[in-house]
Every structure is written in structure tokens, then in C-alpha cells.
Amino acid sequence: MSIHNSLGLGKEITVTINGKECKSTFGKTILEIARENGIYIPTMCYLTKTQPIGSCRMCLVNVEGVEGAILSCQEKATDGAVVMTQTPELYRERQNIMKLYNVNHPLECGVCDQSGECDLQNKTLEFDVGDQPFTARDQHRPVENWGHVSYDPALCIMCEKCVRVSTEITGDEALQLKFGGYSSTIVNVKKEKNYASLGEAAAVCPVGALVDTDFKYRTNAWELSKIPSSCSHCGGGCQIDYEVKRDTIYRVSNHAEFSTLCGAGRYGFDYANEGVSKERESFEKAVDAVRNAQSIVFAPQISNEEAMILQKIKEKQGTKLICHEARAYQKFMQAYGSITGKNLYGGTLKKISESRGVIVFGTRINNDAPNVKYHINMASKWHRARVAYLHPMRDEEMKNIVTQFMQYAPGSEEAVAAQLVLALVGKTEEMPQNVASLLETLDPEALAAQSGISSEEIALLQNSLIKKQGFSLVAGSDLYAHPRAENIAKLLALLERYAGFNVVCVPPAGNAMGVSLICDLDDEVEGTSVGYNAKGDFTLSALGDGDLDMPAMNQQEGTLVSNDKRLVPMHVAKSYSGYLLNDIANALGLEAEYTIEYTAALPEAQGFKAEAFDDLPDYFDITGKEHRGYLLDEVSVPVDQRIESVERTGKMGPVVYHCNPVEQFSPFTAKCAAITGEAQLVGSAAFAEERGLSDGQKVSFEIDGVTFNRVFKIDTSMSGNIALNPSYDMGLSAALISSYRFKSIDFSATKNEEVGS
């Protein structure tokens, strides 16, 4: 706050716009204040979620006492300013801008994908530009196919929105401006990578220059009906709109003005469980199976309401509920809460984007939760935040954001957490005796020896954060299944409680956070089991290969809990005519006509509100404030500040890291046609040498009872003694993996098996 006060930010001011008195706070631009008050200022390049671009000059306004017009998107309003947004001169000026935008712009709206939702079309009509009075010598500008998106330079109006999004928001930094007067274009400097995050750049494109390649020319924008929903892939619960015509989803769009969507959300929409009918016989078998089951195993790709149904079944007949990832997260957060006294982590994504320093720990964040990575990128770009990335392996995709990579030995997360605590938590009065004495007894050198992160690196991190404030910690799913997860949670909780860190414990993929809050989970499967999107003795599956079909996420209503601690609604985008989990529950004696009747019954003791599904709002207001579902309430839990000392761990040697490739999260994304890729075991050269594997060799190994048959590939860009093993292609078995993400695996038994020619 002190910085804010010294600059006068946050002070109450009054501005008069078009004769209307508008109250606001200092620090906001004229455009922002006008929008808050419902006053229209036309813009072409303005994008609320990025910094003002100022390339279009449409937002010109007159301010009394100021010569000439000023750009309202950039200019901060001062107290007492008198602003005029509509004068005949401004209209002429804007009309001329539109005429210039129309120089040589092809008049082929009939075959342009943007037609109907095109800013240029709208503004051209708004400013009554009926012909093209100016022209320039045209050039040959071929259409470029960049993979997920295509670029047509002839349609581009050089507003720079896409470049800003790719730089400031998604952080792939693939797009750049190539200056050259009339021949300026956008260039993709990382074409070979085919970033799916460029879909976001296409989404903000006001014209048809950047469009989704798969969507191109398939239908017109005005024929599609938008069905608001939330993405269920990574746990981010991002806002999406399914665009549907004749029961086919053509594409997914989002409110790109305010929110951001990763490639999986944008392109992973086409899987649905289709052609299902109500088969009475299988249904009765399913009811019997659930009635007689001792355990229900389920994948975290499940809505809150379905989780609630499972919980009700447990309460009714004592069935054990097993969801490994959610269970690990639940235990982690319980331990975390025993220090902070709250059931949820205290951090928010918005605060991450406002931080001056971010520590990423125990997660390959670009793969695990793209929306969190985007917020880290925003902090890096907007506030030049120091970003420390603590992980056993570097991530080349994070190179442009991270200021300090710190590699630790797999398995030593507890020591690393203790190192962070020692470096960043100062002793305070309110700290209980046992915590203070623990801090004293920890030996930095011993911890450094154990983790592999030297004291110099820690000192560097410490120094980089000096004289800054507003830090965030992003903890991830490497920690949740760690044997010492609970103590790690407690150590990290100290950062939130005593060092004021904005901590976000990124939940594992799917709705693991919702499940962890709603279900009373058990650790191990016992007796006969029913699997829901997971392999069991009787399997209910939305993946199409179970004993009874279930709807995929885009075929059902329900809610999810996002990693921003928000309950968000999902709606039906595609028809489904089979049985639902609710039908089984009703057959077992529960009574609810629709699954969404459980929305209002979600446990208030965990921060849910008794709001009915149909009452949940789902929109962003004009200033970009999110009104989707509701934020979970923070619930106090008993504080018990017991922390154990750090346990010594042995070295793990070469390890296999359970990690899905970017844009892949689960068997559901694996079934989407637009997200391609081959599931392989990808390792560094060092790993290959140590394990005696060669490139292209077939290997077979087992993790948690799941057998993987993989082709081994060497990736020379990878460092460390690590191989990445995905699980997204494992179908119903993917949800059975429960152990710590790093695993030492001996390939000696299978390594002689070469790939057949």
C-alpha cells in the first residue's frame, strides 16, 4: 500500500465525462472510468486484459484545457477533468481512421470467418464509411498456416492485439511485429512449435486475419449458438463458450476481452460420448454393482454434483470413495490448513499477476496448469517480477519468464521447502515456540546438501527479492503425493502465515479440488469396486469402453471448482440420451430429478453456498469483473502448529517423471482430434546412458499396477537425469496412478526388446 499512497493511487477523484459526473479512483484511465459509467468510447485495439496498446487512436477524446485530442485508453484521469467523447471533429477523425483501415481491405465478407462478429465491419458501418476512398499499391501477401491458427496478412489491420496477448498473457512470445509501413505484418517466430496458445491470439483478432485453422470456412459466426460453460481439463475452470449448430460443436470461444483460455480448453472440445441409448439391462447391472460395491474408484474429471452423489452413496451404504489425486490434495490441504487455520490456500490468481516475485515449486506449471502460468507471465511482463522456478528439471518453455532456475534432487522437496522457509520467513512475535525453535534447529548446509540447491542460489533468491513486496508461491502436484507431503504442506503454510506470501496450491487436473472439498475420501480400494471413468470391477465410463456409458463433461450440467477458488457452472453443449449417475443414485433410493439439484446442497461447511444451479451468474461485466458462479468462502479450521523436522531422503538417481505433455491432461483430452501427439517416454541423453536405453527402444514398465508400453525417445533439449512419462493416453487406467510423480524404474528386464522394423 505504501507505494500506492506515495503516488496518490487509489485517491477518490471526480471526472466529468459528457456532462456526467463520474466518481472513481486515481490511477484509472479515462476509458476505464467511462466504461464503468456506461459511456461509450469507440476502440479498435483496446484489450482490457492487456496494457493499453494505443495503435488505433479511435479512443481519442477532448479534455478541457488540453490542446488537441488525447488517447483515453492510456491517459490516467485527473481530479476535476472535463472530458468530451463525442464532438463533430472527433467523429470526423474517427471516420478517417476507419477509412484508412479500409485501404485495400478485401470486400469479401461473404467468405470471411469473422463476418458477423468483425470489429472492422461494425465500426465501418458505425462511422458510415460507404466506400474505399483511399488506396495503396497492393502486395502479394500469401496466407500462412501456422498449425492451430492461420494468418491472412491481407486482412490484418495491425492492431497488435495478438502480439500483446502472445507476449503479455500466454507468454509463448511467438508473435512479433515486422515494421515496414504499409507492408508491416505479424510474424510467427516460433512456427515449428505450433503453440496451441496462439488460439488466444486468434480469439482477440478483431478481423479475420488470425483464425482457427480447423474452423476456417466451416460455418458462419451468426449460425452458431453460444453455450456458456467452463473448461474441465486442468482444474482452471476457465470460462468457455461452446459454439454449437445442429448438435455439433464447431469451436470453443471465450470472453477473450477479459479472460484467457489455453490450447487444451480451446481445441479439446470435440470428445463426447455419442450414440448412447438407454440399455435397461446394463443399467440394472450397474445399479446392482454400485449397491454391492465396497469401493468406488473415480477419476477427478467429475462435476461437484456427481461427487456429491458419490458422497451421498457413501453416507447411505458405507462405500469407500477412492480418487487418488484428490485424496493426496485433500491431505495436503488439511495439513496446510492446520498452520493457516483456513481450509483453502490464501492466494488468488489475480494476486499472482500483481506480484513482484513468484516462486514456482514442485510443478511443471506450463504443463500442469497453463492458466497459472499465464498469470505468472503477466507478473513477469507487467511488474518485471522475479520468477524462481524450483524443479528437478528445467522447462525450456518457461525460459523467457523465469529469472532463476533452481534444480533440486527428486525426492528432496521437503528439504527445499525448509530452505525456502529459512530464507524467506523471518522470525516474528506471533510465531509459536515450536515453529521458532524448528527454524533454529534447521541446518541450511545440511538441507543444501540434501536438495542440491546451494546456499549461494538461495542467497541469490533472497537478494533478488530484497526491496520488493508482494510475493507469490505456486506449489504443485509433485508435492501432494510425496511421502512427506503433510510436512511440506506445513512448511509452505508458514510462508503464507508468517511471510505474507500469496500462496496457490495448484490442484491436480480435473475437478480434484472440488472432489477434495466434497467427498470424504479413502486411501485404498477394498473388495469389489465400481469405477467411474477409472478401471473397476464394474466400470461406468464416459470414454466409451465401460460397462455402462456415462456422459462426457460437455454433455452434462454441473459445476466445477476452479483453482481460483471459484465455483463455476457448466452447461450441456451436446445431446446425450443414456443414463446418468443421478439415475443410478435414484435407483438406490436418493431422490433428485436432476443432477443439478445437488448444487444447492454442496457442503456449506467447506465454503460452498446454498445457491441453486439456475441462479448462478455467468458473465463478465464491462469492467472485466468476473461474475461466474461464486467464490468459495474461506472456512476456519482448527490450528495445530505442529511441524516435524526434515527427514533425510536418499538420492533417487535417474527417475521417470509422471507428466503429461502441454495441452494434454487426461484421457478426455487424448480423445480430442485437434490436440495431437504421440505418448512416448521422453528422456534426456544422460538418463538414456544411465539406464542403458537407446532412442526408439520399446520399454515396458509398471507404475501403481498400471503397465506402460512405451517407445523411448531421447530429447537433447532436456537437462537432468529425468524422463517424462505421460498418462493421458492410458484411458481408464490413468486415474489409478497414485504415487509420487518421480519414480525410479529399472528397465533392465525389458531393455533388449528392440522396435521391430
Binding site: 461473404g110 467468405v111 463476418s115 466506400d131 474505399q132 476512398p133 483511399f134 488506396t135 495503396a136 499499391r137 496466407v143 485453422t213 476456417k216 470456412y217 466451416r218 460455418t219 458462419n220 451468426w222 449460425e223
Partner: protein, 207 residues
Amino acid sequence: MGLEQFKNRNVGTQEYKVLDLQESPKTPMAKFAQVAKRTFKGELFVGLGVTVREMINALFRGQMHTVKYPLEKLPISPRYRAIHEMLRLLESGHYRCIGCGLCEKICISNCITMETRYDENQRKEVSEYTINFGRCIFCGYCAEVCPELAIVHGPRYETASEQRASFSLFEDMLTPIDKLSLQQEYDGFGAVSPNADENIKKTPLAY
């Protein structure tokens, strides 16, 4: 108008004219005499003469008044709205439809369905185009809205068929490529106005 004159059935008081009919013959002999008289009077040949004259005019003097219907058809007004036709570009033979979807949008009986895709030549290709003629009301909006004069109402008014699908596919409506030279420019609904040339604004070509 009142109904009085219809309700008045008193024939005698109205201005009816009574024909001067002769007395009908009473005896069988008189009846026979009347028939014989009428038969051999020669009036029959007057009528036959007219027929023969017209036959000679039609067959030998080129004054035929009827058409041989299934083989020949009367010309029909261009504004008549019958089964749609899809026209081709005269130069290239490529179909004119650009897949803009305006006809689909404007159709008030929702009978036009189209699918488009991005083809190999970077054009918008129409991959499916059907008109449900069970629903089409032949209003002509599709022809009027078409920016390319691609869909028009043709003169094909015989819509009896074993199934409606016989008309509804794009290929059936499209001008056959070998009949391209016979393709008529369309004057009816949605045609360019006669003074279109005067209304055209040219894009400036400064270079």
C-alpha cells in the same frame, strides 16, 4: 349487396325473356321426321369444314395453336419461382456459390442447409447443399439475397417426383457442365437492376 333478388323466386314478375320454342313433336312419326330433318340438313358438314380448315392451317400453314406438352413447353415469365437452379461462372465453369450462407440465414421456412469447408485451393468450398422442398415455400428470398446470382429460381415447375430428394441436392440444381453454353442469365428475383452499371462505384486505383 342484399340477397333479395335471389330470395325472390316469383319468376313471373322479373324481367325474364321466354324463348320462342316450338312445340315438341307429339306423335312418333313427327318425332322421326324432326330427327331425319336435322340429320340430313348439312349443318354437320359446316362444323366439320371448320375443323378441316383449322387442321390444314395447323399442319401445313404453320398456325398450330397448342403445344405438345411433355415435349414442348410454353415460355414462362422469368419472375416465376420454380425449383431452384445453381448457376456457374461462364468463364471458368466453376459454380458461382461462394458458401456465404446468406440464403441459409434468410430462408423463412428454414429449408436450406449447407456445409462448407476450406478446400485445397484455399477457397471456401460448398461440401453439402440441400433444400428441403417439402418445406420450401418458393418465396424467392434466397435468390434475392444471393450476392453472386448463384442461386436462382429456374423455370422447372414440374415438381412431381417419386421422392423430394430428387431435386434437393446441389448437383441436381447445378447447371450441367456440358450445358454451360445454354445457361441463361436470370432476370427474375434478385437480378441486378437494369441501371446497375450507373450505380457502381469504382474502387480507386491510384497506382
